[in-house]
């Protein structure tokens, strides 16, 4: 037991409250509850207040968090996407505590992959404890239905374009899409396929302009992909888009691997036979990651309790209690693979072998300002389908938000 030997965290019997702020509810609620149970086992004296604000991708939670932080009433620990979303927002504003001492004390510098620590830290410190790793570039399908239609999962977008018209003729939506943010989610997979991992990284390092030939090409490919999506996308949730694939109304859906959790936990489908997956077209061998993590705001009421919470999150037991339920994989290198389902095992293997790139739609590569503006650019594009204008607008917001010069 790592926790038993930890001097800071277990030095005294903890009591009082611990307020944790997240957007995990509904299908993701049980995974969070598993962590809370683990915490209460270790610290029976602490009353955990689960302050959840629902809404996919944290749309509502982030706004509530902001008013609380600005009002001087930070929660003891809050969920945030690892990477620029935290660093470009709260770390820049000097509102977070450096967690490097906790990482050193718990021996986490060795158990988390180096590339990950680089992404959650700056030269001044490490800012959050990652609970999980999700993959964003996954295409989902129903093996049974594909067999019935005589279709193979596409390895490239060209392969997709070859089968898509056929599917459309049969009255099947080739690619299920849901509301606004899932369009951003699809865009990043398409853009990664279009430009490749080096150029993708160069984009976020400010070395490649969004309105360069590569940037425009990504929007053009995206526009072509959109031709094969459902027209009622903007009124569906991501779960409803996944349902379309499960029910056989749509052939494919590009969604993060929380869809695996949804299909196996809520829909009771068996990974591999009930639903199938592959890297989204054109991104085989690349792992576009995002991570949920928790940070420690400055000036919280129950700092000791929060530290103990963070220690649970980073521990192997905590990680393995949480991730199989959430449908994600552990951020640690030493997780117990036996606990994970077939999807989880395959993702963990990919994570260790593939080229790792950060996700835009889920806050790794860009700060909140860029992400918000990008949503407007996306809307502009969905309406006009003008690749040139969208690329130019993307470049402007990159300049405005300090990503590009």
């Amino acid at each position: 037991m790592l926790l038993a030997v930890s001097p800071v965290v277990q030095a005294k019997e903890l009591s009082g409250d611990l307020e944790i702020f997240s957007w995990w509810a509904g299908d993701e609620g049980p995974a969070l509850q598993a962590l809370i149970d683990k915490y209460n086992e270790e610290n029976p004296g602490v009353k955990v207040i689960n302050a959840t604000v629902t809404g996919g991708s944290g749309v509502n939670a982030k706004a509530v968090l902001k008013t609380r932080m600005l009002g001087g009433e930070p929660p003891d620990s809050f969920q945030v996407h690892a990477g620029q979303e935290l660093i470009g927002t709260w770390v820049e504003a000097d509102r977070m505590e450096d967690l490097t001492p906790l990482f050193k004390e718990q021996g986490w510098m060795d158990v988390f992959p180096e590339g990950l620590i680089k992404n959650i830290g700056t030269k001044d410190g490490i800012w959050s404890v990652p609970v999980n790793i999700h993959r964003s570039n996954v295409i989902w399908y129903s093996p049974e239905k594909l067999q019935e239609w005589g279709v193979q999962p596409p390895a490239t977008w060209d392969e997709f374009f070859a089968v898509a018209p056929e599917l459309q003729e049969k009255g099947i939506v080739p690619l299920a899409l849901a509301q606004n943010w899932t369009a951003n989610h699809l865009w990043e997979s398409v853009a990664l396929a279009s430009m490749g991992p080096e150029k993708w990284d160069a984009l976020w390092a400010g070395e490649l302009a969004f309105d360069s030939a590569e940037g425009v090409a990504a929007w053009e490919l995206f526009g072509k992909v959109l031709e094969y999506t459902n027209k009622d996308a903007s009124s569906l949730s991501w779960q409803q888009a996944t349902d379309m694939v499960v029910d056989g109304r749509a052939a494919f859906n590009v969604m993060g691997d929380w869809a695996a959790g949804y299909m196996s936990t809520t829909k009771k489908l068996v990974p591999g036979s009930g639903f199938g997956w592959a890297a989204s077209p054109g991104t085989t061998g690349e792992f576009m990651f995002l991570a949920d993590s928790f940070g420690l705001p400055k000036g919280v009421k129950n700092r000791d309790n929060a530290m103990a919470w963070l220690a649970i999150l980073g521990s192997r037991e905590g990680s393995d209690a949480f991730n199989p339920l959430k449908g994600s994989i552990s951020a640690r290198k030493d997780s117990e693979l036996g606990l994970y389902n077939n999807y989880g095992k395959s993702a963990a293997v990919d994570f260790s072998k593939n080229i790792i790139v950060g996700s835009l739609a889920h806050g790794v590569t860009a700060n909140e300002g860029f992400m918000n503006d990008f949503a407007s650019v996306m809307e502009m594009f969905l309406k006009s389908r003008n690749a040139e204008t969208a690329a130019k607008a993307a470049q402007q917001i990159a300049v405005k938000n300090g990503i590009s010069k």
């Binding site: 749309v59 982030k62 706004a63 902001k66 008013t67 932080m69 600005l70 470009g88 927002t89 709260w90 820049e92 504003a93 000097d94 509102r95 509301q179 606004n180 943010w181 027209k231 009622d232 996308a233 903007s234 009124s235 700060n367 909140e368 300002g369 992400m371 918000n372 503006d373 949503a375 407007s376 996306m378 809307e379 502009m380 969905l382 309406k383 130019k392 607008a393 402007q396 917001i397 405005k400 938000n401 300090g402």
Partner: protein, 369 residues
């Protein structure tokens, strides 16, 4: 003695004067000041963020900047939205009130039914209507009960735009609108005063014709073409709002109609007025103040529309966007506080254009009485 009363009255009012001065006007002033700064971007959430005065830059950006396109579409949406809500809620409310005014059987029951939606919050209405207008449910499957094919209309996700205009020609469009108002007004007054009608009609026709002929010479608002118009996806939201508020206007009108003395109605009937004639010539002119207050109330409700749209179509939905939603996202998601404040001030000014003429006219009325 009289002075003492005045002092007492002043002291009684003082706390509310001070509180209103701070919490209403002070905060409006503060928001205006913020809208002139560059508070936003990286580090905007620091305890002491850097703010520099940049003048009207945020407003210029919103109306003519490359990235303000979303805001402009939202503004256009809001205009169509207000007009349709006013027409729908006042029209339906009036019809319902007339029907109930004739004391049908079960009047009390129907009054409750029609007024009920008003007691719901917008977030509930939004959730209900989102289900009703779902692509494969609710309204669309109604015809199947009668043995017909289901409707295929995408109420909330249609991407058709009608009545489009180019934002580049905003000035020309504005002149057309002014000309149209002048001409219609002129025709309405032609019977009572021909002199006045002439004063309205001639400038109206000249302005309209001028804008039509020399439109190309007018300065352009934008450097590129940008089409905006009435998004048919907003119809779903307008339906939900009308559903919520027509009961309310019904109640307003019904109160007005009940206030008209029965003797007046009997007298009219005795003189041979039909029911339609009674409403057209007697009841409606008498409840004119109610129409005006309904317009004021509904127009400012349509300007602060937020939760209904959020519940029905979510954020980041250009088709159904609204400046109020845009303000919230700009401020609390993009951390662009200055631009959010600018949107707030624009909304405030639009609301003022409705409220101020109303206040002036009611103040005048009180003085002449």
């Amino acid at each position: 003695m009289r002075n003492q009363d005045r002092v007492k009255a002043f002291l009684t009012l003082l706390p509310s004067i001070v509180l209103i001065a701070i919490f209403v006007y002070g905060f409006i002033g503060n928001t205006f000041w913020l809208s002139m700064t560059d508070w936003g971007g990286v580090g905007a959430l620091a305890e002491n963020p850097v703010k520099n005065i940049i003048g009207f830059g945020n407003y210029v950006e919103l109306f003519t900047g490359f990235l303000g396109g979303g805001f402009r579409q939202d503004l256009v949406n809001a205009v169509f939205y207000s007009v349709m809500l006013l027409a729908g809620a006042i029209g339906i409310g009036l019809i319902l009130a007339m029907l109930l005014d004739n004391k049908p059987k079960g009047e009390a029951f129907f009054r409750t039914v029609f007024l009920y939606p008003m007691s719901l919050s917008f977030i509930v209405t939004g959730t209900i209507w989102r289900w009703m207008l779902a692509p494969q449910g609710g309204v669309n499957i109604l015809p199947t009960y009668a043995g017909f094919e289901p409707l295929q209309y995408s109420w909330l996700s249609s991407s058709t735009t009608v009545l489009t205009f180019d934002w580049q020609n905003l000035l020309q469009v504005a002149i057309y609108l002014v000309a149209a108002v002048l001409i219609i007004w002129g025709f309405l007054t032609i019977r009572s005063s021909q002199r006045r009608a002439l004063w309205l009609l001639v400038p109206g026709v000249v302005a309209g014709a001028g804008a039509w002929i020399w439109g190309d010479l007018l300065p352009k608002t934008l450097f590129m073409e940008e089409m905006h118009g009435f998004n048919t996806a907003t119809i779903g939201i307008i339906m939900a709002t009308i559903w919520q508020y027509s009961g309310y206007t019904m109640a307003l009108y019904l109160a007005g109609f009940t206030g008209i003395s029965q003797d007046l109605r009997d007298a009219a009937m005795l003189d041979g007025a039909t029911t339609a004639g009674y409403y057209r010539h007697i009841a409606l002119p008498l409840v004119k103040p109610i129409t005006i207050s309904a317009v004021i109330i509904l127009s400012h409700i349509s300007l602060k529309m937020f939760d209904l749209i959020f519940a029905m179509t979510g954020p980041d939905n250009a088709e159904t966007g609204h400046p109020a939603l845009n303000m919230y996202l700009t401020t609390f998601r993009a951390n662009d506080f200055a631009k959010g404040a600018a949107i707030a001030i624009i909304l405030f000014l639009i609301a003022a254009t409705f409220i101020i003429p109303y206040m002036v006219s009611s103040y005048k009325q009180r003085r002449t009485r």
